[in-house]
């Protein structure tokens, strides 16, 4: 079955903005991709700085998805969506840059869905999800779009 914004929206019960193209199939990407203030990085690319704890608690991603991060102003969540029993997620991760919010491992295509940014697919593999930062004075501040 072709996965589209409309079908993901139906599966998760999450609404997406109606000006986004609903019916085209969602591109599946094998590599680094960004969605607004989040980035999805294949784990091997940053294996020297990010790794899940050895006793990390993993949760299976349910069909309605896992909310990774919610935007500012109560807004819009980035949601990880996958078919049952194909994808697991943990937030028990150490990151020398302190930006990782978690790691997911997927044996089928997993999708990242956002009401304003639309959706994007990730090929099977292990990925780190990181937040974005900016410099404020001598400190770093996490971006929330």
């Amino acid at each position: 079955m072709t996965v589209t914004l409309a079908s993901l929206s139906q599966q998760t019960g999450l609404a997406v903005l109606d000006h986004l193209e609903q019916s085209v199939s969602i591109p599946v990407v094998d590599g680094l991709q960004a969605q607004g203030d989040l980035i999805v990085i294949p784990l091997p690319v940053v294996a020297s700085s990010v790794r899940p704890w050895s006793d990390a608690g993993w949760t299976d991603v349910p069909p309605e998805g896992v909310e990774l991060l919610r935007g500012a102003a109560g807004g819009n969540p980035h949601t990880l969506v996958a078919d049952p029993d194909t994808c697991r997620w943990t937030t028990d991760v150490s990151d020398s840059d302190g930006l990782a919010i978690g790691v997911f491992e997927t044996s089928a295509v997993a999708y990242l869905l956002h009401p304003e940014h639309g959706a994007t697919g990730c090929t099977p593999g292990a990925y780190v999800v990181r937040r974005q930062r900016e410099r404020e004075g001598h400190r770093a501040r996490l971006v929330a779009d």
Binding site: V29, A34, V46, R130
Partner: protein
């Protein structure tokens, strides 16, 4: 039960953010009851229109104190005594929580108490801290005692989780609950209690997963009291009024506080700000993964540069939003700057295949 807990949270949030006139008889009766609980006769009540009025005026019959004396927490100071009273009540109420209630207690603690605590920190506490700017040291602990969050927690425990309090515990709890829903903040002294009316306007936005809110208004003061005292806020950050009413490049240049500068620039919009301020372009490069869009790096001020990037997805009006990200001034390459924002090197970031 989760939904019922959320409803109770919303009830108390509504009370905390209320802009209705105080229910003076109810507030005075409840606070008189609390005075009796610490062994004091009910005080006289001195009502003022705003927290700043409460902190800068001396109620009739009270001797003016030098500011350092007013700030010193002496043995006679009443707020710590009321706070101990409140903690003692909380301990007793916690003891009424049986093991069967514990999962619900955890949920209420997280989604009601935690949420309301964050909401009041992001809203009511901002004008209270601002009022203390006039020479008084803030006493957040006392405002924590007056916070609706703990009141809502025990209210939800008895109404949703089925925790039973004794009539005596309920009587004491109701004094606090009544005070929390009947007036603005109050400052107790021996013999006299100063109470503030609530604000007449309060503008907030939702900012969290559990219904948290924070002050925000882009076209006027976020909080205003009947005496005209007001506070401006941008997405939960208190800012000087010019940030909202007249943000301009020269004022931003003069502003020492980096957070205030950022709020003012966000209000103007990064692209307009860069244009108006005439920032020097350091370098530009195609944005990997975002075909047709460029990353542009500008000099901003010492040790800081700004990366102007373009959203990967279109807005409702068909345009792509531009946004600025401040980065360390040591970065010369826009790709390295974009990578830095995600903790990546230029080589790693250049692997970006798609941006949505």
């Amino acid at each position: 039960m989760r939904r019922e807990a959320a409803e109770i949270r919303e009830e108390w949030l509504g009370r905390a953010l209320s802009t209705l006139p105080a229910d003076r008889p109810a507030a005075e009766a409840a606070i008189s009851g609390l005075y009796r609980l610490i062994g004091l006769a009910p005080p006289r009540f001195h009502w003022v229109s705003s927290p700043v009025a409460a902190l800068t005026t001396v109620p009739p019959g009270m001797r003016p104190q030098p500011p350092e004396a007013a700030d010193r927490i002496s043995e006679r100071a009443l707020p710590p005594r009321f706070s101990s009273l409140m903690r003692e009540l909380c301990r007793e109420l916690d003891d009424q929580v049986r093991w069967v209630h514990q999962p619900m207690d955890q949920l209420i603690r997280r989604e009601v108490r935690g949420s309301l605590s964050r909401s009041t920190t992001g809203s009511l506490l901002i004008p209270l801290r601002a009022a203390h700017d006039s020479g008084h040291r803030p006493r957040d602990a006392w405002y924590g005692t007056q916070c609706v969050s703990w009141v809502a927690h025990y209210d939800a425990l008895r109404r949703v989780a089925g925790v039973v309090f004794t009539p005596e515990q309920t009587r004491r709890f109701e004094l606090w609950a009544t005070a929390a829903r009947s007036c603005g903040s109050w400052w107790p002294h021996e013999g006299v209690c100063v109470l503030s009316e609530r604000p007449v306007a309060m503008h907030t936005e939702v900012c969290g997963d559990d219904g948290e809110v924070r002050l925000h208004r882009a076209d006027g003061p976020a909080v205003r009291y009947a005496d005209g005292w007001d506070v401006y806020a941008w997405h939960g950050t208190r800012v000087p009024s010019w940030v909202i009413t007249d943000p301009s490049v020269p004022r931003i240049a003069e502003e020492a506080n980096v957070e205030v500068r950022r709020c003012a620039i966000e209000h103007i919009g990064w692209a307009s700000y860069i244009d108006q301020a005439g920032l020097r372009l350091v370098a530009s490069a195609p944005d990997p993964g975002n075909p047709g869009s460029e990353l542009r790096l500008f000099d901003m001020r010492e040790e800081t540069r700004v990366l102007l990037a373009v959203n990967g997805s279109v807005e409702r009006d068909g345009r792509r939003r531009q946004y600025g990200l401040t980065v360390p001034g040591s970065l010369d390459d826009p790709i390295a700057a974009a990578g830095w924002t995600y903790g990546l090197s230029a080589e790693q970031y250049s692997l970006l295949l798609r941006r949505t």
